[in-house]
Symmetry: C2
């Protein structure tokens, strides 16, 4: 659990896309996004107040979040004096980079001296139990995809927002590093040891109010051979009551695998239901979320209508049109 | 890769069952089972030559395998002088216990001083790649089960034996600690980090001769919610050409999960094929392996005949009747 609010450190991000983690915090948890700190050559800008470490601390920031990747995803030596200053001031540091805070002796020493925490969100921070497949109180919705990176995190966050706006009880449950940094907690599922995958998701989605929904961030795809085991653990550990199918219609092959075609939405529906029914016979598919970023507005509308007719399910692009219809379907 | 042959250390095993790892070596790799070493209160006996460390070294033993668990699965303090003597003599030590060799400073120091290796086979010994789902040369057969612990390892080992006896090229590929100790290599899949599960199995079953079969040890079950993700990674990483269905007919619920019934063999066949076809459209189910240990000979025969008629597949208990028919079906 990260302490909030955050100072979002953008470093020397070469473009706006490199700051997508920080952008995610700003978009989905604006109450955590106290200010931004940028180096001279930073090309990203979130439009937040510019703060140095002292100003951010004074304003209440309690965690410095490394919200941008430079080329290579490594921690630049130029960042070290800033990170150490933040620790000395009393802030924790959280990072989703491959390059770990824990592997930098000067950072570890500064954190120890100031009794602050270093949180590499790609590294599991808990010991998780082995899953037990038991029913839990409350409701759960899982986003599943025809492929990796088709908008599963975005869909779950947009549904959480729409549900809260409609007065429903809803909590996004992060299963990847970006989602964890955005919401301040979660399970970095792809870094969890195999035996504990399902148990980590049970831990993440505990008993709750009968009318509360967990919106579980999906990972991978049952149809992506590199990561299908991770997806399976999400389906069985998450024990979903509802599944939302996520798809990117212009993709010509599975991400990173030119020799694999994407499955149809029907195939995704059928295999997801078949596997989810092993833990919850009452699971339903409640909607389709399509990432139409590569289409014009007219193309997108035509495509969504066609899929809605074909599948008989509410079908939206939550980025273009919001997720209200996916939320209503629950 | 463990150095062979082994001195099998049985410690103070309270009964024969506690020495099942050592028994597995003796049954399946007798050429590795050079001798046994037992403490005064040991109740297990493999019928091998009794050797002390000096005698075993002299006879050629190059790894001391901890082949028994005492109560609690921990390493007893009484063992320490023996383990240190083995290391000083020049032997490696291999262990499948939860309690790790690497966590015992006196053992680590002795190994360092003598330039010998400590191999905790539950701990991955390699950095594995991310899976790429690509086709590989040679053939692969995977044992899948209606539940955990229904005889998948035994089935694959018995098939390897039957195939070798029939002059076929066959290699058992271990995916759990017992199998690794028996054959001297493998992947401890349940301890691999989620993202690398499928890749570790691709690594374990590389390109081979066109007429060579890998017999891949199964883990968990697609129908066991605690471990289904591990099984899925085996199906997609192993890219099997053939699947053998494994079952224990007297079990009343999934192992450790009283609220889950076992699936039918038909359900196992269908879901295994559906998921395996994602990576290999030509995959077939070639046989059924039933653990009939809890049945009389007559009951077992009647049950096997009934299943064979129902499924239209060669159906055997490899422990009672050998695996020749499963091998022929490939």
């Amino acid at each position: 659990m990260l302490k909030t609010p955050y100072l979002l450190f953008l470093g020397d991000a070469p473009d706006q896309l490199a700051a997508k983690t920080a952008q995610g915090v700003r978009d989905w948890r604006p109450e955590f996004a106290l200010g931004q700190m940028r180096l001279a050559n930073c090309k990203a800008d979130l439009g937040l107040d510019e703060m140095d470490i002292a100003q951010a601390w004074e304003a209440g920031a309690r965690t410095l979040v490394i919200g941008a990747a430079n080329r290579g995803g490594v921690m630049s030596d130029d960042w070290m004096p800033i990170l150490i200053e933040a620790l000395e001031k009393g802030m924790d540091i959280a990072s989703g980079l491959h390059d770990r805070l824990q592997d930098r002796p000067e950072i570890v020493a500064a954190a120890k001296a100031s009794d602050t925490r270093l949180i590499d969100v790609r590294t599991p921070q808990n010991k998780y139990p082995i899953g037990n497949g038991a029913a839990r109180k409350g409701k759960r919705c899982l986003a599943v995809g025809t492929d990796c990176s088709v908008g599963k995190m975005y869909t779950a966050l947009a549904m959480e927002k729409a549900m809260r706006e409609a007065g429903m009880k809803a909590t996004f449950r992060a299963t990847g590093q970006t989602g964890i940094l955005i919401t301040g907690s979660g399970v970095p599922l792809d870094a969890v040891v195999a035996d504990f995958m399902a148990g980590s998701i049970e831990w993440l989605t505990p008993d709750n109010d009968d009318d509360h929904w967990d919106l579980i961030e999906g990972q991978g795809s049952l149809f992506h051979p590199s990561f299908s085991g991770v997806t399976m653990a999400l389906i069985h550990g998450g024990r979903p009551d509802a599944l939302v199918l996520c798809h990117e219609p212009t993709r010509t092959h599975m991400r990173g695998l030119p020799h694999y075609k994407l499955p149809t939405l029907e195939a995704l529906r059928d295999l997801s239901l078949e596997t989810a029914r092993i833990v919850n016979p009452d699971v339903r598919v409640t909607g389709v979320s399509v990432n139409t970023a590569a289409m014009s507005e007219d193309e997108a509308k035509a495509y969504l209508t066609k899929v809605e007719d074909r599948m008989g399910l509410p079908t939206v692009d939550p980025y273009r049109h919001g997720a209200a219809r996916l939320a209503e379907a629950l």
